[in-house]
Amino acid sequence: MAKKTVVETTINGESMEFLCEPRQSLLEVLRDELELTGSKEGCLTGDCGACTVILDGRAACSCLVLGVEAQGKSITTVEGLASSAGLHVLQQKFLEHAGLQCGICTPGFLMSAKALLDHNPTPTEPEIRYALAGNLCRCTGYDKIVKAVIDAASTLAAGSKAA
Amino acid sequence: MATVVIPSLLRKYTGGADRVTVSGRTIGQVIEELVSRYPEVRDHLLENGDVKPSVAVSIDGEMGTGGVLDRVGETSEIFFIPAIGGGC
């Protein structure tokens, strides 16, 4: 068995070191080594998006990234979305719009939506649907998820105008 | 007398009769009465002394929940129906 290596990275704003085998995916490391089980495993082939994290500012499937590849990188997971000030607007809107049923896909959708709004604060509905196309939801039919993201975007935009 | 509506595939055992009147006051008595007249229907309705899990009983439009213990009224209409597999 290949020996474990030390990986230095930043997760949800905290600089962290972890030990992992090269064959361990970032998703495994987050879930099994760091007990950050908010990122979910749905397919391990990059088709469902349940494991989506933000890696150096970009949405990525943590099941298709090796833990060792995280060396020197900055990672945000769903656990890093809320702050001491409270829930992120996206989280709040998902709750208000009932944008989740079973909730297993929710962390992935939140991270994809976060990555979208970070790059494009005023997306159109088609842009939102394109940005969320890599996240599968089997419960909601997507209607309330899309509405939640539209509402979150306009709320954030209004907030930034006010500021 | 209560009436039992015979499922179409069991009518070959009832000489083609599709409705049979019975005097039983529980589903157990009703089935015993049917079996005494048409022995072949037993295996289709009973298992270990109770109504087969694959059979649902409708009494006056209500679903039976007590198996052989369910009460039957003076003029009840009784249907034996396939239970919905899984049902979910």
Binding site: E41, C43, D47 | -
Partner: protein, 767 residues
Amino acid sequence: MAASPTEKPSFRVIGTRPVRHDGFDKVTGRAKYGADYSFPGMLFGRVLRSPHAHANIKSINIEKALALPGVKAVVTSADLPEAPDKMVAAGEAPVNLNHLSSNVLAREKVLYDGHAVAAVAATSAHIAEEALRLIEVDYEVLPPAMTVEAAMKPGAPIVLPTLRNKEDGPDKQTNVANHMQFTRGDLAEGFTQADFIVEREFKTAMVHQGYIEPHNAVGIYGGDGHATIYCSTQGTFNVRALSATVLGMPEGNLKVVPAEIGGGFGGKLVIYLEPLSVLLSRKTGQPVKLTMSRAEVLRATGPTSGSTIRCKMGATKDGKLIAAEIWMAYEAGAFPGSPVGAGAMVIIAPYMIPNFKIDAYDVLVNRPKTAAYRAPGASNAALASETVIDELAEKCGIDPAEFRLINAVKEGSPQVVGPPFKRIGFVETVEAIKNSPHYKSKLEGPYRGRGMASGFWFNVGLQSSATVNIHSDGTVSVVIGSVDVGGQRAAQAMIAAEVLGADIKDVRPVVADTDSIGHTDVTGGSRTCFTTGWAVHDAAQDALRQLKERAAKLWEMKPEEVLFENGKFVPSRPSEKAKPMTLKEIAGRLGRTGGPVVGRATVNPRTVGPAFATTVVDVEVDPDTGKVQVLRATIAQDVGKAIHPAYVEGQMQGGTVQGIGWALNEEYFYDGKGVLRNTGLLDYRMPTCLDMPLIETEIVEVPTPGHPLGIRGVGEVSIVPPPAAVANAIAHAIGVRMTQLPMSPPRLLKAILEKRAANETQAAAAD
């Protein structure tokens, strides 16, 4: 929102849209699903699965696997107790022990690609996976029976050598597990009265429920013979009964703890990994976590039946359905139990047809044992009946909505199985669609079409328990045994809050394990808000009764002299002792008036509220590629009473999109050897949000007679109309009647090109 025809009591909490109680944990990643549990010393398990569709197992050698460092145990069916081929008690309902056990771990034969053969526990999942490669299984490969046609042919490969059916008798091996028949009136006479007759044969592909969370289970076997399973399931008591039966354990020695569940749709009512986790834990003395890969989920769990349906219907020119003759055969998978019986009972359920004959066959094939999927068997059936009806409406020159209204079942109409319907809301759903902005809007542009279809589902009652605890600060905890898949926890809290005059924020719903609540059947059959909601309502009423007694004690009057009005306990006659009290106020006095108050109720309803839905969709077809884009969709559904309308809409929208996926692209693709080719979500194509429009909803509320709140189940019926509605929309867009699901681009393009060729030859003949 369509208004209810019967006038409703006004509610304070019911009908509002509070944030769900489990929401915070689910948007922050804190909610614990089955795979999120871990325990000190926990091992990781993996399952070896058959690469063949049908084969005898000659031998299994586990020595090399056991020798791999890190491997702690390997189990095969030899580690399970004997499993005779007979019905045995498993909790409430008997099951065939051999079928149940043989699906958990194959015995002498593997019956489908992906059939579990052995399981490994190791110190890491990677080691367990490597160990699977070291297990040597000697197979004698047999020819498979992959379709109902092939399996029903004389001389077909026999899936279960012991299977017999009543019609063929005790000596004949067969793949036909069951034949059901429903008849009414005089079929021949009916068809002679028909002015128009349409007859078509339909085929639908096997499809999967497609929940995003793979199956999982953590088993912890205690030295004292007791064991605990943490898992994502739709029914903890079901898992306990079935797992105990397979393991030969006393049911009471097993505790099942419900984790949060990442979707089920019927596919998580059954057991796969749960008994294996206990078996491996018993062998190793350590906790064992098993999780499935997506490929395992697709190869070995779910799916629902593919089917062949021949549907012949006749109507008079004034649009009355007069006769229907239907033959339907569903794939059961490797063990008996397809939903063909349900399919037969729903296929013409929305309509009054004086003469019909329906024959239904449950057929074994070398595919995974099918599991329930949202209104099981109904979408396949509705594709046939609802497209034939669309064609008849066209021939009669009657608007499809009108045609449905002419034939619609109402209160008192006999059901297919005989008993009359009580108050139902089918007509109201069709009216709601007729009056919807969507149906009234104009659809313009080439290759565009609009189609509608209706659907029926029974819904079930079954048993539920609930306790309602009044705490000294006036907060309330509602304890239920129903696993929460789609937000029903919030609805249960709302029901208790409504009865007790509590603020919804002060009511905490709790989904309890099998040791902590009375028997409660599965979350399925659209029964949870209906039955468990009934139990919660009664338990809250029980608590209220006790609280009135306490007020009576304090006010020195009789309990019946205490009233509960607008959230306050008030005396029915003036008395200076008696100051009106809120729940919070009286809760603080419980200790001095006799101790805590706990409301209890259990229910086993004899009545259910059947559900109807009507759906309309607009599509655009690319005539060069056969690709279909759904432009707009609206569903009207009778929900009895919407407790939390947002989650009711969610059920309607979710089922609609699943139905559209089933209609257009989802399909199990087996090769000539019976090996599943599309074992991932790349090629098992579920809709993405880029494929779907917003889904408009029309909530219809026709209360269920007998239910204290008038609730009807809302979970399932929404998936019934879409495949037929899409097929009808395609027909109106390009004049091609599709009779096979999925209506994927290659199939649709083929139909388009054949029609074009036919038209050209006609034109040529005309010249």
